[in-house]
Amino acid sequence: MKAMIIDDEPPARRELRRLLTGFPGVEIVGEAGNVDQAVEMVETLTPELLFLDIHMPGGSGFDVLTRLEDVPQVIFTTAYDEHAVRAFKVDALDYLLKPIEPARLAEALGRVRTSQAARAPRPDAILEQIFVRDGDRCWFVPLREVRLLSSEGNYIRLSWGESHPLLGRALAALEQRLDPNRFFRANRRQIINLEFIESVDLGVNGRLHAQLRGGPEVEISRRQARLFKTKMSI
């Protein structure tokens, strides 16, 4: 597995690298010491796993993630601020406290491996999860759990459970990386998750109204309605 270490302290990077020599399955493809460098290297080296320090010069580890289009698996490393990590809505990630215990590292790596479906991210590949930061809160959002994506200017509003975080990307760009079997463009502004459709009603002028589980009702434009019917074989 290709991994990268992002930490601004050289001794901390050396220490982690040394600890990882005990895990032959993990190959360190690069090290970065600040946010800009990290973003650039992740994009070119496409690691599957990041060891990411939270405190970074020129931003935080979270800033690295928000700037990445494709977020690999992440293990946070921090000397003290585990509360910053725990404040997350996280399932698929772990955090390690420095100095790192080898046993904890093994545990974290075990968790990553099981959740990692041997997926090498490619630029055209389907996105599984995205990292969203809204104000003080951060989330790893598994896209299959998002029922609705609405365009708001240059941003996308996600409807995900009870939360409605804002994502700093354009809807058109994201659409190309969404799973076409799951997501459907309902109208100019909205993309819906087909798994969340509860019922569909006929509207006027050939439009359709799709009621989503957990709300709201979304209008499917006339042009898209035809496509929708073929797709759902109605």
Partner: protein, 367 residues
């Protein structure tokens, strides 16, 4: 005068009681003696003895009364309950003394009838036995009423003063506690990062790792024991700042460069403990650590016009939102200065230069 709690010692109040008691009764006794001898023309030896006898009894009674009042905790009673108890107590003490006085007075006179002859009829009535006893009882009850009034006034005054003392004592204790709190506490972020650095150095450079452990121990010891002193010399504080900076430069490596300009004549000036350390920590946290390339941290000291000026200068990242914590750290340092020096010390964060932040501390030089 009473069982005390708090700041006035029981011994001291006991002595005050006896002084009051003896002078009070002594003066009362003397004034009656001179009154009797000069106005009433009474034979002074007999009269004196009689007075001594009766007043000694009154004195004893008042002492018993005081013990009784203390045992029954009268001072804790509300004023209305206290008032009627005081009146009853005064009467109870007055009755035996009144009767006794009347009979010793009569015994004093060699021939009471002869004595009465010369008196007006009104006075004669007054000296008739039942009336005279009544008057003597009222007289003594009034004396005891007066005694009790003084007693309880004294207690009230003392309790008020003791409460005031406690109040100011409390305020001082609070201020001390506040000072301790305001001192920079152990910074866990620094501690764990330093430990991580040490772990790395153990493999990379064992000699450096040993040095790091020693410095870390010194820094911790200073931080943990510093609440015992308020002020240390600048050179004491600089020792620890140097250890701290050495540890941080092991962590940041070439991102942290350090310059110290502290002339020898400034080394002995007393400064609040951990204050320079706090400023240096801030400079690293908000300056060096935020910059990918790091930068130069400069500490300089100057003494001019009996004022020490300490400056901690660090490069600052381009216009970032200042975090709330930065404000808290500086505000704490300012509060400490105010508690220790009042208006004579100051601390400012100079952000007039675009890429440099300077914390400037001014402290009066001790004589």
């Amino acid at each position: 005068m009473d069982d005390t709690e708090g700041l006035i010692s029981p011994r001291k109040s006991q002595r005050a009681y006896w002084i009051f008691q003896l002078t009070g009764w002594g003066l009362y006794n003397l004034s009656r003696f001179f009154g009797g001898v000069t106005v009433m023309n009474l034979p002074w030896v007999h009269f004196g003895l009689q007075l001594l006898f009766v007043d000694a009894l009154a004195f004893g009674l008042s002492h018993l009364l005081r013990n009784y009042v203390r045992r029954r905790q009268w001072r804790a009673l509300p004023i209305r309950k206290l008032a009627w108890r005081v009146v009853v107590a005064a009467l109870v003490c007055g009755i035996p003394l009144g009767i006794l006085t009347q009979f010793t007075d009569v015994a004093l006179l060699q021939d009471p009838n002869e004595f009465l002859e010369g008196m007006s009829s009104a006075l004669r009535f007054q000296l008739a036995l039942p009336v005279a006893i009544g008057l003597e009882i009222i007289n003594w009850a009034a004396v005891f009423l007066f005694w009790l009034a003084i007693y309880f006034t004294a207690i009230a005054v003392r309790e008020h003063r003791s409460a005031q003392l406690k109040q100011s004592e409390l305020a001082r204790a609070l201020q001390l506690a506040e000072l301790r709190l305001l001192k920079s506490q152990l910074n866990p972020h620094f501690l764990f990062n330093a430990l991580n650095t040490v772990r790395s150095l153990i493999a990379d450079n064992p000699a450096r790792a040993q040095d790091a452990v020693t410095r870390l121990a010194k820094t911790l010891r200073y931080t943990l024991t510093s609440p015992q002193d308020e002020l240390v010399t600048l050179s004491q504080e600089l020792d620890i700042v140097a250890d701290y900076l050495e540890l941080e430069s092991m962590r940041f490596e070439d991102r942290l460069r350090i310059e110290l300009h502290v002339p020898d004549y400034a080394a002995g000036v007393h400064i609040p403990v951990m204050l320079l350390q706090t400023l240096v920590e801030n400079a690293i946290k908000h300056g060096i650590a935020q910059l990918p390339a790091g930068g130069l941290l400069r500490v300089s000291a100057v003494v001019r016009n009996v004022t020490l000026t300490l400056e901690v200068e660090n490069p600052r990242p381009p216009a970032r939102v200042r975090t709330a914590q930065e404000g808290v750290g500086l505000q704490n340092a300012r509060d400490r200065l105010r508690l220790l020096f009042g208006e004579r010390a100051s601390l400012e964060l100079d952000l007039s230069l675009p890429s440099v932040a300077t914390a400037r501390l001014r402290i009066p030089v001790n004589p």
